[in-house]
C-alpha cells in the first residue's frame, strides 16, 4: 500500500518498463480538468497496485508523463500518457486494473510497451474533433463552413493566462466540414436542431482549440445557435490525435510501438 516514502538521492527503484496508454474522457466526466484527472489517476494507480516508479529527490513524484490534455468540458477518445514502472507488467492486465480503479467515464482503452525511442508528444501533430452544435441547423453550418474555408486568415480573441490574445484560427485548420445530421450518432435525441462539425486541426502555438474555430465561424459568418443554446454549450469530442501525414491522415501515436517495423518503413 502507498508509495515509497521520501528517500535520499538514489534511493528510488529504477524504471524497468515504460508503458504508453490511450484513455478516454466521456459523458459527464468530460468536465474533468486535467488537474482533476491527474489526481484521480494517481489514486487509481495506488488502488490498482500499479508498480509505478518515482522520481528522485525529497518529494518524489510518480513517473507519469502526459502527451496531451483535452480542455475541461471537451470529451476525448484519444488522450495519451506514459507510465514509468519499477516492475514489469503485462499491458493488457494494466489496462484492466487501472480502468477498473477509475470512475466510469474516465476509461483506459489500451496500453503498449514503449519500444521505440522518442517521446509520445513528438508524435502528436494534429487532432481530429467532432463538435455537436445544439441550436444550429445543417444548412446554417454548411454556409458558415464555406465562408470559413474561403478565408486565408481569421483572427479571433481569447483570454489566456497572459491576458487577451489575438491569433489566427484559419491556418491550423486542415479539414473542416459540416456532417449531415442523418449521420448523427444514435442516442443523441434533440428537440432543437443539432448540426455536427468535423475538424482536423494542426498543433500550433498558441494552440487552436475547438472553441477557437467556433469563434472563427462566428467572425466570418455570424454563426449563432438559436436560444437558449449558445456556442459555449457546444459538445466537442477529440476523436483522434497523432502524426499528420501528407495525405491528411492521422497516425495513432501508439502505432510505432505496436509495430516498430511498419513505421520504420514509412
Amino acid at each position: 500500500m502507498g508509495k515509497p516514502k521520501n528517500q535520499p538521492e538514489g534511493g528510488q527503484a529504477p524504471v524497468v518498463q515504460r508503458v504508453r496508454l490511450r484513455y478516454a474522457k466521456r459523458g459527464p466526466l468530460r468536465f474533468t480538468s486535467h488537474r482533476d484527472f491527474a489526481r484521480a489517476l494517481e489514486r487509481a494507480i495506488l488502488r490498482a497496485g500499479v508498480p509505478i516508479a518515482y522520481s528522485q529527490g525529497f518529494t518524489p513524484h510518480p513517473k507519469i508523463s502526459y502527451a496531451s490534455a483535452a480542455p475541461t468540458g471537451v470529451a476525448s477518445e484519444a488522450e495519451y500518457l506514459e507510465l514509468g514502472l519499477r516492475e514489469r507488467v503485462e499491458p493488457g492486465q494494466l489496462v484492466k486494473a487501472l480502468d477498473g480503479s477509475l470512475s466510469p467515464g474516465l476509461d483506459v482503452l489500451e496500453a503498449v510497451e514503449a519500444t521505440v525511442p522518442g517521446s509520445l508528444a513528438d508524435r502528436i501533430t494534429a487532432s481530429q474533433w467532432r463538435i455537436e452544435l445544439p441550436g444550429v441547423g445543417d444548412d446554417q453550418l454548411a454556409t458558415a463552413v464555406a465562408a470559413f474555408v474561403a478565408q486565408s486568415e481569421i483572427l479571433v480573441e481569447r483570454m489566456t493566462k497572459q491576458g487577451r490574445r489575438t491569433f489566427d484560427t484559419r491556418d491550423a485548420v486542415v479539414h473542416i466540414a459540416a456532417v449531415r445530421s442523418q449521420t448523427r450518432p444514435p442516442g443523441v435525441v434533440e428537440t432543437a436542431p443539432c448540426a455536427i462539425l468535423d475538424l482536423v486541426v494542426r498543433q500550433v502555438t498558441p494552440s487552436v482549440r475547438p472553441d477557437d474555430v467556433l469563434s472563427g465561424l462566428r467572425v466570418v459568418a455570424d454563426l449563432e445557435p438559436s436560444a437558449p443554446h449558445s456556442l459555449r454549450s457546444a459538445r466537442a469530442t477529440r476523436l483522434a490525435q497523432g502524426t499528420l501525414t501528407p495525405q491528411g491522415e492521422i497516425v495513432d501515436p501508439l502505432e510505432a510501438d505496436r509495430d516498430p517495423v511498419v513505421i520504420g518503413e514509412r
Binding site: 508509495k3 516514502k5 497496485g49 480503479s101
Partner: protein, 650 residues
C-alpha cells in the same frame, strides 16, 4: 417522469459556469441505483459548496448505511454557486442530485445536515430550486419530507417553518427507522397523507415535527410555553445515540471525488462524545457519553479505507483524539504498519500537554514537522477556569517549548474572544503568553527560527451548553479588544515579528449567535435575508452583516423583539428556552449549576476518570461510557501484494 435524469438540460449550462466538475458526480464510492428498485428514496444534502460538503463524514455515513438497504436508494445534492443558480432559474433546471442527476423534488425524503447555522440560507436556495414550497405548511404528498440533522438540529426552531422534521443526535439508526416508517406507510397506500406520516414519525419520540407544537409568547417577548397540539405527540423529543461504534464501522467506502475538496483524506472517527466539559463547546455537551471505537476496528477501517480509496492520508477524528484510552498504541501501531510508505497520519488533537507531542512525534516519523496546534482557548488562567479548560500558564509554556525543542518550528494557538465575564485584561494576556512562548522557545532552542500563530475566534453561546444563558459581547467591543491585542503583540518588535495573528471579526459571530439561540420568529429573518440575495453565509466573501441587520430591523420589531434581544441579552434561570422541549439528555438544573460554577471560576472534572457528576445524559438516554483499554495491539500488516489488483467486475 419521476426519477428521470435532468442531465441533458444541465449539460448545456455547465460549460458556462466555474468548476463544472463539482456538478457531475462520478466519485469513486458513489452508488447509482435504478429508480424503480427502491421503495424509499432519500436525497441527502450538506448545504454548502461541493468542495466543503462532499467530505462531510455525517452525510457519507448515512449515504452508505441507506444504500446498503435493498429497498432504499440515497443520492446527494449540494449547494450550487450563484452562477449556476442563475442559469438554472433562467432555463428552468431543478435542483439535482450529483449521483444520477435526478430532480430533488422527486424523492420521498430530503435530509439536510447542518454542522453550522450559517447554512440555513442555502437550504432555502435548495428548496426553491427543487420547487419544494419554502413553507412546510404549503407542501403536499407530492413533495419530499424535509428532515434536518447534525449539531444545529439541536435547536431547529429558527428553521421550524421550513422543515418537516428534525433528528437530534446520531443518525445511523434514526435514518433506518425513518425509512421503515415511510416504507410501511407507502405499502399501506399512504393512509392519511403527509399529515399521518409526520404523525407516525413524531410518535417515535425521537423525530421532532415542529408543526405539532404550538409556541406561546409572553407580552415581553419571552416564550411562555411550547406544547404539543396533537394527541400522541410527546412533550419532549429525545436525541439519538449510536452505541457500540464497532458495530457501525462507517464509512467503509469513503467517497473519492474528482474535484478538489477541502479534505482530501480518509477520516476515521476513533470515538464519539467528549466529557472534558469545556463550557462553550456544544459538540462536547450534546454528544455524551464517550463511546470509543476499539483499536482493532480502527486499524481495520484504516486498512480497508485506504485500499478502497487510494488516499494517502488518514485523519484520526474525534473531539479530542489524544483522549482515546489506547491512543498511544493506535498511533504507534499505525505508524509501524505504514512505515516505509507515503501514507501520512494526522491527529487533530489540540490538547495542551506533553503527551500530545509524543503522539505527534510518532505520527511524523517520516520527518515532516510542519506545525502543531494547541487550544488554550482563554488568554488568562482566570478565564480558562470560567470555560473549564484546565491548563496552567506554566504547563502551556512548557508544552509549547517542548514542541520547539523537538523540532517543530511553527505552533498555532487557538483562543476565543467575547467569553462570559471576559475583560480587556483577559484578552491582552494572550499577547503576554505569546511573547513568553517565543522568548522561552528561543532560549530553549537557541534559534530565532521559531514562530507561533495566534488564531482567535469569536465566542458564540450555543443551546444545550452552560453558556446558553450568557449574553454575547457586542461586535464593536470584540473588534476593539482584538485591535488592542494586536498592538500589544507588536509592542515588542522582535517578539512580534515571530507571532502571526489571525482573527475573525465580531459581526459574523453575532449573526451565528442569533441563529443558534433564535426561536421560530427568526425564521422570517432568514427568509428575508435569502430573498435579499443571502447565500453561502459561511463564506466571508459572501456574508453580508448589513443584510442580516437590515432584515432583523425589517422583521423583528413587528414581533416585539430585536437582534440584541436574541444575542446580547442574558437569560434568567426561569426563562423557557426555545429548545427546552428538545432533550439532549443534559439536565437543565445541572447545566444551570455549571453556569453558576463558571461564574465563580469553579472547575469540573472529567467523568471518565473521576466519578459521574450527574450531568443527566446516561440515565435519561439509557447509555453509558464505553471506553477501553481493550489491551489489544495492531499487528504488522501482511506484506502487500505487489501484483496488479483487478477490481471485481472490471
Amino acid at each position: 417522469m419521476r426519477g428521470d435524469s435532468v442531465f441533458p438540460q444541465l449539460e448545456l449550462l455547465l460549460p458556462l459556469v466555474s468548476k463544472p466538475i463539482q456538478y457531475v458526480g462520478g466519485e469513486l464510492g458513489a452508488v447509482v441505483k435504478p429508480w424503480e428498485s427502491a421503495t424509499v428514496r432519500w436525497v441527502l444534502s450538506y448545504p454548502d459548496a461541493y468542495e466543503v460538503g462532499l467530505p462531510n463524514q455525517g452525510v457519507q455515513i448515512l449515504y452508505e448505511v441507506l444504500n446498503e438497504r435493498e429497498d432504499t436508494l440515497a443520492e446527494r445534492t449540494y449547494a450550487v454557486w450563484p452562477d449556476l443558480e442563475k442559469l438554472m432559474r433562467e432555463h428552468d433546471v431543478p435542483q439535482f442530485t450529483v449521483d444520477s442527476h435526478r430532480a430533488v423534488g422527486d424523492f420521498d425524503l430530503f435530509g439536510l445536515s447542518f454542522a453550522t447555522e450559517l447554512g440555513y440560507t442555502n437550504m432555502l436556495t435548495e428548496l426553491s430550486l427543487a420547487r419544494i414550497p419554502l413553507l412546510a405548511a404549503d407542501r403536499d404528498e407530492s413533495h419530499p419530507i424535509v428532515v434536518v440533522g447534525g449539531h444545529a438540529a439541536f435547536n431547529p426552531e429558527p428553521i421550524a417553518d421550513f422543515i418537516d422534521a428534525a433528528v437530534l443526535g446520531d443518525g445511523e439508526e434514526a435514518v433506518l427507522e425513518i425509512t421503515d416508517i415511510v416504507a410501511a406507510w407507502k405499502s399501506e397506500g399512504c393512509p392519511g397523507g403527509r399529515d399521518e406520516l409526520l404523525l407516525r414519525l413524531a410518535r417515535t419520540e425521537s423525530v421532532y415535527v415542529p408543526r405539532f407544537y404550538d409556541v406561546d409568547y409572553l407580552p415581553d417577548g419571552r416564550i411562555q410555553r411550547v406544547v404539543p397540539n396533537r394527541p400522541g405527540v410527546p412533550f419532549r423529543v429525545h436525541k439519538r445515540t449510536t452505541m457500540d461504534l464497532d458495530a457501525w464501522p462507517y464509512p467503509k467506502k469513503p467517497l473519492v471525488p474528482l474535484a478538489e475538496t477541502v479534505h482530501e483524506r480518509f477520516a476515521v472517527e476513533i470515538f464519539r462524545g467528549c466529557t472534558r466539559g469545556c463550557r462553550f463547546c456544544q459538540a462536547g455537551m450534546i454528544t455524551r457519553p464517550v463511546r470509543e471505537r476499539s483499536i482493532t476496528t480502527v486499524g481495520q477501517m484504516v486498512k480497508e479505507g485506504l485500499e478502497f480509496s487510494g488516499f494517502d492520508e488518514v485523519g484520526l477524528l474525534s473531539l479530542s483524539s489524544a483522549d482515546h484510552s489506547e491512543i498511544g498504541d493506535i498511533c504507534k501501531g499505525l505508524a509501524d504498519q505504514y512505515d516505509g510508505t507515503n501514507v501520512s497520519l494526522s491527529l487533530p488533537s489540540t490538547r495542551v500537554d506533553a503527551f500530545n507531542i509524543d503522539l505527534a512525534q510518532e505520527l511524523s516519523r517520516n520527518g515532516r514537522r510542519t506545525g502543531l496546534t494547541f487550544a488554550p482557548e482563554g488568554g488568562s488562567e482566570r478565564i480558562r477556569k470560567v470555560i473549564n479548560k484546565m491548563v496552567t500558564e506554566e504547563d502551556l509554556i512548557r508544552t509549547v517549548v517542548t514542541a520547539y525543542s523537538n523540532g517543530w518550528r511553527q505552533v498555532k494557538l487557538y483562543f476565543m474572544c467575547g467569553l462570559p465575564t471576559e475583560t480587556d485584561e483577559d484578552v491582552l494576556q494572550i499577547a503576554r503568553l505569546a511573547h513568553e512562548v517565543i522568548k522561552s522557545g528561543r532560549q530553549a532552542t537557541g534559534s530565532k527560527d521559531i514562530r507561533c500563530t495566534v488564531s482567535i475566534g469569536g465566542f458564540v453561546p450555543k443551546p444545550h451548553t452552560p453558556f446558553q444563558w450568557a449574553a454575547m459581547e457586542r461586535p464593536e467591543v470584540i473588534d476593539g479588544r482584538l485591535r488592542a491585542l494586536k498592538q500589544e503583540i507588536n509592542s515588542d518588535r522582535s517578539l512580534g515579528r515571530a507571532i502571526g495573528f489571525r482573527y475573525h471579526d465580531g459581526e459574523p459571530s453575532l449573526i451565528e449567535g442569533l441563529l443558534a439561540r433564535g426561536d421560530r420568529r427568526v425564521g422570517a429573518v432568514i427568509r428575508e435575508v435569502w430573498e435579499q440575495g443571502g447565500r453561502f453565509d459561511g463564506w466571508t466573501e459572501h456574508f453580508s452583516y448589513r443584510r442580516w441587520v437590515d432584515a432583523c430591523a425589517a422583521v423583528l420589531p413587528g414581533l416585539g423583539v430585536d437582534l440584541d434581544w436574541f444575542t446580547t441579552r442574558e437569560r434568567e434561570q426561569a426563562e423557557v428556552l426555545p429548545w427546552d422541549h428538545l432533550d439532549s439528555g443534559l439536565d437543565k438544573d445541572w447545566l444551570w449549576q455549571d453556569w453558576q460554577d463558571a461564574l465563580t471560576e469553579y472547575e469540573q472534572d472529567d467523568c471518565r476518570w473521576t466519578p459521574c457528576f450527574d450531568c443527566g445524559v446516561c440515565p435519561s438516554m439509557d447509555t453509558s461510557i464505553q471506553i477501553g483499554p481493550t489491551g489489544r495491539k495492531l499487528l504488522p500488516l501482511t506484506p502487500v501484494n505487489t501484483g496488479l489488483r483487478v477490481p471485481a467486475g472490471a
